[in-house]
Structure formats: structure tokens, C-alpha cells
């Protein structure tokens, strides 16, 4: 525990500059502002998932009311968006209780007020409160370190990660159950601190190494560690009486090392099956997923995805042996598809961030307890993933797609800044973005029956030197690639044991990789930004989305049967209710299978892709560039505040 992360010792006289927070202080104001925004998100998302049902709230249009037990009610202003989205104005929220009405800023109070309506058992509520406070603390930190949009747009991919605001659908999106305050200071993306993984060696019989062809453990290590470091580490093994060549080496997240690996593998450290090698000389930064680290000192070295026994959003963040072992195999398969498919390779130029090697280390006791809760089976391992830098051409820039939802400290959206820098109209910029994003994902889905979870963190948007989006990079194969339940001919090159280990879902479920992950999970929020900051009405945005979909369908008519399977243009589809899944899942984390069922669905939502109609039919608003009349000043983001 260093003094920098220990407020109690920081208050010692030697550190006289440290002052505790007090009412009216900046800390207090920031915390309250974070609470107000979180409360607005809580209302919006719980209403979206119909856990709460507002009623019109009086004479003002756009005013809504949620009546709760014990004569408590909340009123607020909201605009409505596609999918029935709620765009709640944080400053407008008021709470009425005991006959008095006051501005509401406390999401915890709101959850307590609504507890009977939400129907959560008390133990779940107790954990929810903990997650909610942790999220508010993280949001307050983000506010305290917020930068203007123009500065954000200048940041590199990794630095930008420290400013992302987390999963937009989830109320409790930064719970990190298991992290102490000091851990949050050291290991969260928004803390933007350096992390040095601990390298350990595991005897060959106790670990499994998998890699893409052409990669073996020594090649990998030669790239990841300098010769002097390797020699020093090898000496540690020799000193413990082992042969360095008979061990696999892997980095361990320092949190996992202290909290999980050292405590639970104590017997293996005692008998020499495992040896501590030392701290990584390179500094790393956590990406938004927290457990994927990117090398700060040597950016060309691999990203490492490491298990963390924290529960964040929906699941414990370990690394399952199945997923970890599959990752290089899937990488080989997917990259093989891409390299032999001219559309993906030459037109989309899609980047697949290869998970080129992995190590899994089963725990000898838990391995014999297959029924144990899944987190005990995901304790130790590593995946090495190509950094996006390796794939960028000179002048290209990469940012996760989540960046498009960011608003800077100055109230300006990053997307507005990017559009302005590009010199394009907003619509043209959005067209470029959607053309970069959708065709490769559609092709992988239709042509190869493979889906990803292309949410805002997993898709990296690549722009040219003029900040025009040109292509995407996709990541997270081992964890997120899913296939159809029957074997397509296109699966032939994927080894059968890997096919068996992947999740297999019906086509309508795989369609959610587009409909839910992108449309409901990203565009539902992006449309709000696009309306407010780019002046592009939501209906227009959906027509723009429809363009590349229709273009793809026109381009590959031979896949028409499959278009029917996935039915991306259906009038409606199931509403993925992640908050329901999270809130009602509390207390069920002792199940043995992490993904026992597909996402929790609640009712259906109207599909805006359906409503947008095919391009050829929208006569009033022809889709061709330049024919859409921009609304006054709408495409000038500089005037949009």
C-alpha cells in the first residue's frame, strides 16, 4: 500500500498538502454531479427495460413521472428515441417525498425508493448499492479528469481509454466488485496508472500453451521480454532447482497475483511447480475491459488479456480455459477466412486483432470440482493479442467505437470534433463510418456464420489521416465468437473440438450481434449524440444505417437464403435487458457455467432498420450524397452546443 493510494497516511503531517473533502468542496460537487448523471441513466435504462413505467407528468410536454411506493415520486424531462429510448435530462430530475419536492441527485436513494417496484431480494439490493456507489465514484473520477473534445480527439488509442465512460446500457457499469479503493486507484482504466504484471513460470505439465502456426513459446517470449530479462527470469527458475526450458512463462495481473494466485496456488509455489519470476520491466495500461493491458513502453509488443477475479457488470472477469485455449485456433481460422476472401481482405480491409498465443493453468483442486462456480475455473492464464498499431498504415488512427459516444468536458462531442476535422458533412462522415463498420460484420455473419460481440469496446474504428473512418478492427475472439448450431460448410477449417467449445446459437440469436450489440447497444445512444451534436435527426441516421445493409444484400444475392435466417430487417426483435440480467443475476454467480443461457430478453423493440425502409424506396430523402438538405447549421458542429 503506497502512500499515494492511502488517504489515511496521506493525511500525515509530512503531506500537509492533502486536505480531506468537505461539504461544498470540489470533490463534493463532482460526486454530486456524477450522481445526477448516474440517476438519469438509471431512470433511462430501467424505463427502457420496462422495470419502471413512467406516466406523463403534467402539463409540460416531455415531462414524465414515476410513482413509487410510500408517496414517493420522481419527475423528469425526457425526449424519446428509437427503440423507445429515454433521453433523460439530468438537471430536470426532482424527487417528491414527505410532501416536499427537491432536485434529485442520488441514484442510491432512487434505487431504495424503487426497491419494491424493482422486486429485488434484499441481498441483491445490498450488492447493488455497493456496485452503484463504486460506479458513482468512478464516474466522479472521470468527471474530475475530463478533457475537452478537441483534446480527446488528439489522444492516442490507449490514452483515450482512460476517458471512456463504460457500458452505456448498464446502470452498474463500473462496480468492480473485489477492487478495494487502492485497487481502483491502481488498476482501473480511468485511473490511467501504470501496471506492471508479475511474470511467473509454470511447469510444463501444469499448463497448456496454444499458439497460431509459426508462433511458439520461445518466439513469443523473445518478442515480449528483452534478453537480459529473460536471463534473469531463467536464473530464478534455476535457483529453485528447475529447468527454465521446461516451464511456460506468463504475466499475471498484480491484483490477481496478490489476491488469487499467490493465495490459491500456494502449494504449487511451495513444491516448485510454479516459480515467481519478477515484475515486468515494461509498463502497461488497462484498457476499458480492465483485464486487457497494453504495453506503454513497447507498444509493438502484444496486448495481454489476463484473468481478474473481480465481478464487473455481468460476470466475474476470469479467463476460462476453454475460451483461452480456443483463442489462437479461432484466430487462425478467422485470419484464414479474411486472407482468402477478397471482399474482407481488399475491400473491407478488416483488421482482426489476432489472439496469437495463450496459456491456461488449471488449478489442480478446482479442476476436480467441475460443478464449482465458474470463477474458480478461470483463475490463471493469459492471452496475447496483437496491438492495433501493428496494422495501421501511416497516417491512420484508431479509437474504440465507444469513443463516438463521448462528450468532452466542454460539452462538445468527440464525434462532432472528428466530423469537423474531416471536412465532410455530418451525413457523409456517418456514411463513411457505417460503411467501415457494417459490411465486414455482415459478411462474417452471413457468409461465414460467425458472430462477434461488436460492442463499443470490441470494435476499433480506424480513420485515415483526414479523420474519415475507413475500416474497423475487431477483437475478442476467444471469448465472443459464436456460431450457428448446425455446421455450415464454411466451418470446415475450424477444428471440431474448437467448434464444440464455442457457443452455438440459432440464427435469430446470432443476429443480435448486429441488432442488439450495435443497434440497440450503441446506435441507441449514438443517435442521441448525432441529433444533439450533429443535427442529424434520428430517422435520417437509421436511413444511413440501412444503406450499407441494402448495399450488401444487393452485392451478395447468392446469400439470400441466409439473409432470411438472420432476418436483420424484421419489424421487431427481442429487447436484450442487460440490467435485468445483472440485477436478477446477483445471487446466481455460484452457477458453474458462466453463460448458461443467452442474454435475458424482455419483450420486443421495433427495429428501426425495418422502419427505415430499403434505400430505393425512400424517395423523399434520397440517400445519395449531397441530396439531403442539411438543416440550418446542423452540420457545423462548432455551432452545436
Amino acid at each position: 500500500m503506497s502512500s499515494a493510494t492511502d488517504p489515511l497516511t496521506a493525511a500525515r503531517p509530512a503531506d500537509a498538502g492533502t486536505r480531506p473533502a468537505a461539504a461544498g468542496s470540489a470533490e463534493s460537487a463532482t460526486y454530486t454531479a456524477a450522481g445526477r448523471a448516474l440517476l438519469a441513466r438509471a431512470i433511462a435504462e430501467l424505463c427502457y427495460e420496462e422495470m419502471l413505467v413512467p406516466e406523463p407528468g403534467g402539463d409540460l410536454p416531455g415531462r414524465w413521472r414515476i410513482r413509487l411506493p410510500h408517496q414517493v415520486e420522481y419527475t423528469f424531462h425526457a425526449r424519446r428515441g428509437g427503440f423507445g429510448a429515454w433521453r433523460v435530462d439530468p438537471a430536470s430530475i426532482r424527487r417528491r417525498a414527505d410532501g416536499r419536492t427537491a432536485p434529485a441527485t442520488d441514484p442510491t436513494r432512487f434505487v431504495l425508493d424503487a426497491r419494491e417496484v424493482l422486486g429485488l431480494p434484499t441481498p441483491a439490493l445490498a450488492e447493488l448499492v455497493r456496485d452503484l456507489i463504486a460506479t458513482q465514484v468512478a464516474d466522479a473520477r472521470l468527471r474530475a479528469t475530463a478533457l475537452p473534445a478537441a483534446t480527446l480527439a488528439d489522444l492516442g488509442h490507449e490514452e483515450l481509454e482512460a476517458h471512456q465512460t463504460g457500458h452505456p446500457c448498464l446502470l452498474l457499469n463500473k462496480g468492480r466488485l473485489g477492487f478495494s479503493a487502492a485497487d481502483a486507484d491502481r488498476y482501473t482504466p480511468e485511473a490511467a496508472g501504470d501496471v506492471r504484471p508479475v511474470w511467473i513460470a509454470v511447469a510444463g505439465h501444469a499448463a497448456r500453451f496454444t499458439a497460431v502456426p509459426g508462433m511458439d513459446a520461445s518466439t513469443l517470449l523473445a518478442g515480449e521480454l528483452d534478453a537480459a530479462t529473460r536471463a534473469g527470469f531463467a536464473a530464478r527458475i534455476t535457483a529453485r532447482g528447475g529447468d527454465p526450458d521446461s516451464y511456460f512463462w506468463l504475466p499475471v495481473h498484480p491484483f490477481q497475483f496478490d489476491e488469487v494466485v499467490r493465495p490459491l496456488y500456494a502449494g504449487q509455489f511451495a513444491d516448485g511447480t510454479m516459480v515467481v519470476l519478477g515484475e515486468s520491466p515494461d509498463r502497461y495500461r488497462p484498457m476499458q475491459s480492465i483485464r486487457t493491458l497494453t504495453n506503454v513502453d513497447r507498444p509493438e509488443r502484444h496486448n495481454v488479456k489476463l484473468p481478474l477475479m473481480i465481478r464487473n457488470t455481468l460476470v466475474w472477469r476470469g479467463l476460462s480455459a476453454a475460451q483461452t485455449g480456443c483463442a489462437p485456433v479461432l484466430t487462425t481460422w478467422l485470419c484464414g477466412l479474411r486472407d482468402t476472401d477478397p471482399f474482407l481482405r481488399d475491400e473491407c480491409r478488416v483488421v482482426l486483432l489476432g489472439e496469437v498465443a495463450s496459456v491456461t493453468v488449471p488449478h489442480p483442486v478446482y479442476a476436480e470440482l467441475p460443478d464449482a462456480p465458474y470463477r474458480w475455473h478461470e483463475l490463471l492464464g493469459a492471452i496475447w493479442r496483437e496491438p492495433v498499431h501493428r496494422h495501421l498504415a501511416p497516417g491512420e488512427r484508431a479509437r474504440t467505437m465507444a469513443t463516438l459516444l463521448l462528450e468532452g468536458a466542454d460539452g462538445r462531442a468527440v464525434i462532432a470534433e472528428l466530423v469537423a476535422r474531416s471536412g465532410l458533412t455530418a451525413r457523409d462522415w456517418l456514411r463513411a463510418y457505417l460503411r467501415a463498420l457494417l459490411p465486414p460484420l455482415l459478411h462474417l455473419l452471413y457468409r461465414y456464420g460467425a458472430s462477434f460481440t461488436p460492442h463499443g469496446e470490441n470494435v476499433v474504428l480506424i480513420s485515415d489521416a483526414a479523420e474519415v473512418p475507413t475500416r474497423i478492427a475487431v477483437k475478442d475472439f476467444g471469448a465472443d465468437v459464436e456460431l450457428l448450431p448446425f455446421d455450415l460448410p464454411e466451418y470446415a477449417d475450424l477444428p471440431a473440438d474448437t467448434r464444440d467449445r464455442l457457443h452455438r446459437w440459432p440464427a435469430q440469436d446470432l443476429a443480435h450481434s448486429i441488432l442488439s450489440a450495435i443497434c440497440a447497444g450503441h446506435f441507441r445512444f449514438l443517435t442521441d449524440i448525432v441529433e444533439r451534436h450533429l443535427g442529424v435527426p434520428e430517422a435520417d441516421f437509421w436511413r444511413l444505417v440501412r444503406e450499407p445493409v441494402d448495399a450488401y444484400h444487393g452485392r451478395f444475392p447468392e446469400l439470400a437464403e441466409r439473409f432470411g435466417w438472420f432476418d436483420l430487417l424484421a419489424p421487431e426483435f427481442g429487447r436484450v435487458a442487460l440490467n435485468r440480467e445483472q440485477l436478477f443475476g446477483i445471487g446466481f454467480h455460484d452457477r458453474a457455467d458462466r453463460d448458461a443461457e443467452f442474454d435475458v430478453m424482455h419483450g420486443t423493440v421495433a427495429n428501426p432498420l425495418h422502419a427505415a425502409g430499403p434505400v430505393g424506396v425512400i424517395q423523399p430523402r434520397p440517400a445519395a450524397d449531397g441530396l439531403v438538405q442539411p438543416r440550418p447549421a446542423a452540420d457545423d458542429p462548432a455551432r452545436e452546443r
Partner: protein, 594 residues
């Protein structure tokens, strides 16, 4: 960053063998396993279908078992191999269909226990040296709860936490202080000890000035705040994460470290002052699960601690037997600060660990009550065996110059009469397990009297209001556990007979040459002696009969292995029903007792 030196194959294997033997012995005591004789002195238990464990050992009184650690082997159709605690747990899991979630957590607790045991082995010292150590130093050498298998689980502690905070790490710690606004916090003290007096006693003037200055600098009125120490682990893991809003708004203000150095006692969360031994011990909530429960301190108990102390002290001070003959030491919980959590206070049915987050209890140190020449050691110390195999009790007996019988008689005469008096005369059950009961020795290491602590957390009263409860303050009445006759008697049966003497008796037989029957006869003598001295109230001798033919069995380990043993329940002391046959009472003499 290296593997800790104690993690050697030798220490690990020795700790493993000892723990596996303890698992068999304690689960046999709890009737989860049934040893059957194979040949004289050799027994086997069937743990799962086609899986037996074989050992040399012997049955003991109370249905207990001695299992020789080196002798335990696992036998299956595939052959025979050495026993291992993990393999044994997996066999139990298969044979008894344990809840996978509970078994999974138990793996972690076993590992933590083995790690601590390996550390104790690596740093162990001969009992001849330990006998010279002061009370607080000795705490760092003890092996933990003799009955519970995973007795150093400390779920929630990381590896560095263990090195920094575990008693066997023998850390020297400074406590951090926190100011809590009076809208959240309340101070409670015995008469004559208000918040200012407490602070003046516990902190030097310079520190008080420094802390006050921090509050003033923060723009708040120091008079609006109550001060309390916080365990660093709790601060980092619980207080900052859960009281973030109160920290942000200045309702909680960290004050920094105070200069005194402390040492954790066996309970981990109670600290003795190394620099000013006359200052109070401090008991702090620590939201780790260790042995049976999460180690927080519920608000309502914190508030009730001083009034409970006042009541108990008044009873003792007005009772010539306790006061003058037993000279019973009752380390008073004289001051306390409770700090409510504004949200969890509204969730009374939340798992109990959420309702015991922040607070402090100050307790009189035993050392302050000692006469010149006296020394104090926890009762648990008597069960300690050093790495060479010599028992601590053997060292003390040797030093005393007394025969083993006379020394044991002195021990029982020191320990039993005050506990029996509290039970029979006042209907009060203490929890005098090895850590709560402290034996006071004279300068020749002969036991002379007892200190028993942990009132508000552990005292039990009967359901029906005895006349002796008349003076019980309302705050104590509201929180003290009420129980039936058997459970009240359990204050002696469970804590002392099952929890301590059951383990001391075989040590006495092996190292003091006092046969088991003689050991229990010496205990019986004390019970009879007390009864003839205080025959009234006769009905209570019947109700809490320590000479009954049998006692109901208590199954601590089996409780832990039940589904739900991992504590999402709202009640810390929820009742678990583990069916077991009563055990034969070695204090019973069928020829004499009815």
C-alpha cells in the same frame, strides 16, 4: 518479489499432514465420519464409496479422536497413498454431496490455513522460549482454533494482507484514525469516560492537536465529529468504497496515523498497544470471513458494549466470591463508537456483513489488571505444540515445580469457579474459548485466576428473565443473545469442554503423564467443589447440569460445510440444524450422579 521462505516442500507437507489428520479427527468427533477398528490401534473411516482413510490413533473422551498425523493414508482400489487435505475435501465432496460453491470456497480457506501453518512451522520457536514471551508476543505464535479445520481462512485477505495483518506475521501496526460526523456517529462510554476523556487517554496531546487542525483546515467544526480508529484493510476495502459519498461530502474525514504501535491478537481484529500497555485494546470491524463469521461489529452491539460492561462489573464488584476469591478479571468494553451507514441502515435484511462496517470498541487490557509478578496468557496457549513436538503446557508445568496433577488442579480451580458462578448464580453464559479466556499465572507459572472477555459479542442470557437480570440496561437487553438452558450451559460445555479441554486432555496424557480419566476427574472435582460451596439455586444446577450423562453435540465444521454456510443470511447467528447423537460426558459418574 519472491516465494515466501516458509513455502518449502517440507513445511507444506508437514502442515498438510497435520491438517488432514485434524480433518479426520474433528469430522469423526462431529460424527460425519465413523472410525472402525482395523487392528489394535489402527482405524479406518469411509469418506466416499470405495475411498477409506486409515490411521493409527485412539478414541478419546467426548467421542473425540486422536489421529497420528504421519499415519494417515488414503486407500482406494488403485492403492494406498498419503493423505492430503485437498484430496480429503474432494472425497468428502463426493461422498457427502457438498454444495460445490461451499467446497470451492473451502479450498481457498484450506490453502490460507496451510500457508499460515507453514509460516508458523518455519518461524516456530521452542516452548521454552515462548514461555518467556509477553502476552502479546505469544499471540503471534499460536495455531488458531483447535476444533475448526479451516481455522485461518481469512476470506478477503490477499497475500500481502496476510503478511501485513495476520497475527502469525507478528506485525507492528499503527492505527489510522477517522473523524465521523455526529449525524452518522455516536460515542458511548462507561460513566466517567466521555469522548474527550477517551481521546485524551488514547492519544497524546500533539496528535490531538494535529487531528483537530486537519478538521479545522477542512472548514468543519471539530466539535461536530467523533473520532475512531479504522483498520487499514477495512478502510481500503470497505470504508472508502462504501462510504464514498460521506467522504466526498466531508461527513467522514481521515485524520491519519496515530503514533502508538499495536499488535494484532489471535482474533486478528483486536489490537494491543505495544508502546503504552496501559492504553486500551482496540477492537475494530474487519469484513473478512474467518472461521465462522464475517468479523465486522454490528452497530447495535457497539452501542451496547459500555452499558453491558457497567452491568457486569457491578455484578462482580458486589459479589465477594467473584471479587475477592476468584478475583475475576472482566476486561471492560468501556468505550465504543458506532457509525451507521446511511443506506445499509435502511436494509435491515441485507446480509449481516453489510450492517457491521465501521465502528470501534475500546477494551481494558488484561495487563493493566495484573498484580506484580503475575503474567497472563490466553487459554489457547496451553494447546500450543512447538515444531519439536513439545507442548507449551509441559513447559509451564515444569517451570512451576508442581506435579502435573496439582498444576492441572490449579488451572481448573482458576478457570472453572468464576465461570460456574456466572452461570449458576447469574444465568450468564460467557464464551470462554481459548482466545477469550486468559489464564493469569503467578510468578512461578502456576495458574491463579482468570480473565474472560468479549461481552457484547458473545454473552448469552436465558430467554426467561431471571431476577438477576433486573439491573440489565435496556441497550444490553436489546442485543444480548437469549437462549435455552442447553445453550447457556454450552458456555462451559461447548467453549471449554469441547473447545479446549477435549484437546488438552490428550496432551496431558501424552506429555504430562496424566491419564485422560484422571484429567476429567480433576475437572469433575471443581464442579463438585463449586456445587457443595454454592448448592443454591438447586434448580439451576439441574437445568445447567455439567455432570449429566450426555451433552448434545455441536458441529462447527459441519455447519460450515452446509449450503449457505457462506453467509448471505441476514442473521449472523442463525441456527443451523445439524443432527448428531449426544456424546457421553466424561464428568458424569454413573455410580454417583443421577
Amino acid at each position: 518479489m519472491r516465494t515466501p521462505p516458509e513455502l518449502t516442500p517440507q513445511h507444506w507437507q508437514r502442515a498438510s499432514a497435520t491438517l488432514a489428520a485434524k480433518m479426520i479427527a474433528e469430522l469423526a468427533f462431529e460424527q460425519a465420519l465413523t472410525p472402525e477398528p482395523v487392528e489394535p490401534g489402527t482405524y479406518q473411516v469411509t469418506v466416499a464409496p470405495q475411498v477409506t482413510y486409515r490411521f493409527t490413533g485412539r478414541p478419546l473422551a467426548l467421542g473425540s479422536w486422536r489421529v497420528d498425523p504421519g499415519s494417515l493414508t488414503r486407500c482406494t482400489a488403485d492403492g494406498t497413498g498419503p493423505a492430503d487435505p485437498y484430496r480429503l475435501l474432494l472425497d468428502l465432496h463426493a461422498g457427502h454431496r457438498l454444495d460445490p460453491a461451499v467446497t470451492a470456497l473451502t479450498v481457498g480457506e484450506l490453502t490460507a490455513t496451510l500457508t499460515a501453518d507453514a509460516h508458523l512451522l518455519a518461524t516456530g520457536r521452542p516452548v521454552a522460549e515462548l514461555a518467556d514471551l509477553p502476552h502479546l508476543e505469544l499471540e503471534g505464535h499460536q495455531g488458531g482454533h483447535p476444533w475448526l479445520i479451516a481455522n485461518k481462512g481469512r476470506v478477503g485477505f490477499s497475500d500481502p494482507d496476510r503478511a501485513a495483518y495476520a497475527p502469525e506475521a507478528r506485525p507492528t501496526m499503527r492505527l489510522c484514525w477517522l473523524a465521523a460526523h455526529r449525524s452518522l456517529a455516536t460515542y458511548h462510554g462507561v460513566a466517567g469516560l466521555d469522548a474527550d476523556a477517551l481521546v485524551a487517554r488514547e492519544l497524546d496531546a500533539a496528535t490531538v492537536t494535529r487531528f483537530t487542525g486537519l478538521l479545522t483546515a477542512a472548514g468543519v467544526d471539530p466539535a461536530d465529529y467523533v473520532w475512531l480508529p479504522v483498520h487499514r484493510w477495512q478502510w481500503d476495502e470497505v470504508v472508502v468504497p462504501l462510504y464514498a459519498g460521506q467522504l466526498a461530502t466531508g461527513l467522514l474525514v481521515p485524520l491519519g496515523e496515530a503514533p502508538d504501535r499495536y499488535r494484532p491478537q489471535q482474533s486478528i481484529r483486536t489490537f494491543g498497544n505495544l508502546d503504552h500497555p496501559d492504553r486500551f485494546d482496540v477492537k475494530l470491524p474487519l469484513s473478512i470471513l474467518n472461521t465462522m463469521v464475517y468479523r465486522g461489529i454490528p452497530d447495535e452491539l457497539v452501542r451496547a458494549a459500555p452499558p453491558t460492561t457497567t452491568w457486569l462489573h457491578a455484578l462482580r464488584d458486589a459479589d465477594p466470591f467473584l471479587r475477592d476469591e476468584c478475583r475475576l478479571i472482566l476486561p471492560g468494553e468501556v468505550a465504543a463508537v458506532s457509525v451507521r451507514h446511511p443506506v445499509y441502515t435502511e436494509l435491515p435484511h441485507a446480509p449481516y456483513r453489510y450492517r457491521q462496517l465501521l465502528g470501534a470498541i475500546w477494551r481494558q487490557p488484561v495487563a493493566a489488571a495484573l498484580a506484580p509478578g503475575e503474567r497472563a496468557r490466553t487459554l489457547a496457549a496451553l494447546l500450543h505444540v512447538d515444531p519439536a513436538g513439545r507442548a507449551f503446557v509441559a513447559e509451564l508445568v515444569a517451570r512451576s515445580g508442581l506435579s502435573a496433577q496439582r498444576w492441572l488442579a490449579a488451572l481448573f480451580a482458576a478457570v472453572l469457579p468464576p465461570l460456574l458462578h456466572l452461570l449458576y448464580q447469574y444465568g450468564i453464559g460467557t464464551n470462554p474459548h481459548g482466545e477469550n479466556a486468559t489464564v493469569v499465572y503467578d510468578h512461578t507459572d502456576v495458574p491463579v485466576r482468570l480473565a474472560v472477555k468479549d461481552f457484547v459479542d458473545d454473552l448469552k442470557l436465558l430467554h426467561d428473565d431471571l431476577p438477576e437480570y433486573a439491573g440489565l440496561p435496556d441497550q444490553a437487553r436489546a442485543v444480548l443473545i437469549r437462549c435455552d438452558d442447553d445453550e447457556l450451559r454450552g458456555s462451559v460445555v461447548k467453549s471449554l469442554l469441547f473447545g479446549h479441554f477435549r484437546h488438552l486432555a490428550p496432551l496431558a496424557a501424552e506429555q504430562l503423564d496424566v491419564p485422560e480419566e484422571q484429567f476429567w476427574a480433576l475437572v469433575r472435582e471443581q464442579v463438585l467443589g463449586y456445587r457443595s460451596r454454592f448448592p443454591e439455586p438447586a434448580d439451576r444446577h439441574r437445568r445447567f447440569d455439567l455432570l449429566a450423562p450426555t451433552f448434545p453435540l455441536v458441529c462447527l465444521n459441519r455447519e460450515r460445510l452446509l449450503p449457505g454456510g457462506y453467509h448471505d443470511r441476514a442473521e449472523r447467528d442463525a441456527h443451523f440444524d445439524v443432527p448428531a447423537a449426544p456424546v457421553v460426558n466424561p464428568l458424569h459418574d454413573p455410580a454417583v450422579d443421577r
